[in-house]
């Protein structure tokens, strides 16, 4: 079917993009000034050790060959050693990734419903107080950088109205939960510990809100404007003129075309959240991939930086494929468009 074909096409182009991303990352890794071997091992090693390291890591080969070695390694999950933690990078990543995934999942998906609700409400009460309130908050929230949200939350909910778990992390130390999916709220529930799940949720709440607020209001804004734009379209006038009740018109004819623009930007929004998580995790002491990546960046731990960037690129690509598929299901026209 055409839907399946479009999805396959989408996957193929995603592969090309990811391959391109590996090249960029590799180039970045190699333009770091200085000798990669020395950067990895530090200043107090002998030339012999360096040479051995170079040999082992194919640093004496031509650049394209080095790339091939690095890529084949990366495909097997071998990103080398981290200069900071002195462990295999892949080990660190598998440890830290679930925390970030849990955070982005919570920040990315539940707020979409809120965004749609706010957008639709705002459009249906155009120029009434509900609309003005939504738009006012929208302007303010969209203009607030994520890290400022995070800082404000720490100040307000950490110090002034101390409702936030202060120490940070993902769970209070008094709880022990089974390790099933790595997503704590879910694991706690699966393990039959509602109290632990609540605690994990509280830990999540503020970082997730800091990540989500701006994007949510932006999605609401887009929903609102496309609702209003579509409401004046001929195809809505046509069904209204046919005597279809207004509520049915709104639900069956107006909503679907109006949420499509929102759906298509969700992919980008979630991607941006992976980026903004870098700061939020740091500020909230959230032990995730992003704070690991941040530490790696500040310490010029190239192997770790590359791995994190690549993994985030992968996560983003997968998200946007998922979003595109949803959009294709909603909007038959997208199945025909050349996907990218």
């Amino acid at each position: 079917m055409s839907l399946l074909k479009s999805i396959l096409k989408r996957l193929a182009s995603a592969l090309v993009v990811l391959l391109g991303l590996t090249i960029i990352i590799f180039v970045l890794m190699r333009i770091v000034p200085g000798d990669p071997a020395r950067l990895a091992l530090g200043a107090n090693v002998t030339e012999d050790v360096l040479e051995k390291y170079r040999e082992a890591n194919h640093l004496n080969e031509s650049l394209p060959m080095q790339y091939v070695y690095w890529l084949t390694g990366a495909l097997r999950g071998d990103f080398g050693m981290s200069a900071v933690t002195k462990r295999a990078v892949i080990q660190d990543i598998t440890d830290f990734a679930p925390a970030t995934i849990e955070l982005v999942l919570w920040a990315g998906f539940p707020p979409i419903l809120a965004a749609l609700f706010l957008g639709v409400t705002s459009a249906q009460h155009k120029n009434k107080w509900q609309d003005y309130l939504c738009r006012f908050l929208g302007y303010i929230f969209v203009a607030t950088p994520t890290f400022v949200f995070a800082v404000l939350f720490v100040l307000v909910f950490g110090y002034w109205l101390p409702v936030m778990p202060t120490i940070g992390g993902r769970l209070s130390p008094s709880f022990v939960i089974p390790d099933i999916t790595g997503l704590y709220v879910l694991d706690a529930l699966l393990g039959g510990q509602p109290a632990a799940a609540w605690d994990a949720f509280l830990h999540l709440l503020f970082p997730a809100l800091a990540l989500a607020l701006g994007k949510t209001m932006q999605e609401a804004r887009i929903t609102r404007s496309s609702m209003l734009q579509n409401a004046d379209k001929d195809y809505i006038t046509m069904v209204t003129s046919q005597g279809v009740p207004q509520s049915v018109v709104n639900r069956k004819f107006l909503l679907k075309p109006s949420v499509i623009p929102t759906v298509t930007i969700i992919g980008m929004d979630i991607a941006t959240m992976f980026g903004n998580a870098f700061l939020v995790e740091r500020i909230f002491n959230w032990p995730g991939l992003s704070s690991y990546g941040m530490t790696a960046i500040l310490n010029k731990d190239t192997n770790a930086v590359c791995a994190v960037v690549l993994i985030i690129g992968l996560a983003f690509t997968l998200t946007s494929i998922a979003v595109d598929i949803v959009a294709m299901i909603l909007d038959p026209r997208m199945r025909q468009k050349r996907t990218r």
Partner: protein, 287 residues
């Protein structure tokens, strides 16, 4: 002729101010620009924007003398904030001055040569840059280069042009079958004519709207980089590093972090509102 122009101006102003809030945006942006330009004159303690230590005045809460208080070194927060506006605005202008033309040319070429290898190659490159959150790659680039204001601008520019490429691609690929483009081709016009004389005026509306909005977002990303120490280096003030310094002294010395934070919000808000108004003039939807 004159009357026509005047009429068009009145109409544009009406469209711009229709939402009401765009005028506020314009006022905010003008104020920020004025404050930035005249910062050294307005700032009560212009010398505080550097490695100055005044122990006698350190850690003071906001007062008549220091309306936004002083930091741990006794420097006037208000003065530092004013000076930091200059770097922020400069960053916005320079980043866009490079990212926009590059993105435009790449995007228009890809759109004009849609369904050929030119499009495939150019737009794949764009896609690759868009496949990682801009902030992540900007952080990585800024970290690999020496951390300073210039390099943070380079990093942001590298991440910003693909957006303009994508925008111009959309416009060009939908316009390339318009008859005036076809006519120019058939009459023997050169590629440069088609790009700069035919496509450029038609992309201008959308580019200008996006640029206005993006001024705020670029400044925001610049502040984010400097917040983690990858922008302007201390003792020079920047919105991001001032917040970062201030966070360490929360909640007691709240003024250190809050004022710069609110300033960022106001700057981004101002450009957002202004951008919406500009979009209204051209009937362009903001992003």
């Amino acid at each position: 002729m004159k009357a026509e122009q005047k009429e068009a101006m009145i109409k544009n102003w009406y469209k711009f101010s229709a939402g009401g809030v765009s005028v506020i945006g314009l006022a905010i942006v003008l104020l920020i620009i004025l404050l930035a330009v005249f910062a050294p004159v307005i700032a009560p303690y212009p010398e505080d924007a550097g490695a100055v230590v005044k122990f006698a005045e350190s850690s003071q809460a906001p007062s008549m003398e220091h309306i936004m208080g002083t930091d741990t070194m006794g420097r006037d927060v208000f003065s530092r904030l004013l000076i930091s506006l200059r770097g922020s605005l400069l960053m916005g202008v320079l980043v866009l001055a490079i990212a926009v033309p590059v993105g435009f040319v790449v995007g228009v070429l890809a759109g004009y040569y849609k369904d050929t290898w030119v499009e495939t190659v150019l737009m794949r490159i764009v896609d690759i840059f868009l496949s990682v959150p801009a902030l992540v790659l900007a952080l990585a680039i800024a970290a690999i280069l020496e951390p300073n204001l210039r390099n943070s601008m380079i990093a942001i520019t590298i991440m910003w042009w693909p957006w303009y490429a994508r925008l111009s691609f959309g416009v060009a690929s939908s316009l390339r079958t318009e008859n005036y483009i076809v006519y120019a081709e058939l009459t023997g016009a050169k590629l440069s004519h088609i790009i700069f004389k035919e496509f450029l005026p038609n992309t201008f509306d959308q580019i200008l709207t996006k640029m206005t909005l993006d001024m705020g977002y670029v400044i925001c990303m610049g502040a984010t980089l400097s917040f983690v120490g990858l922008g302007e280096q201390p003792p020079m003030p920047a919105l991001g590093n001032m917040i970062n310094d201030g966070v360490k002294f929360l909640p007691e010395m709240w003024w250190l972090a809050i004022y710069p934070a609110v300033t960022i919000i106001i700057i981004v808000l101002g450009f957002n509102l202004l951008g919406d108004g500009v979009g209204n003039i051209f009937n362009v939807e903001g992003k």
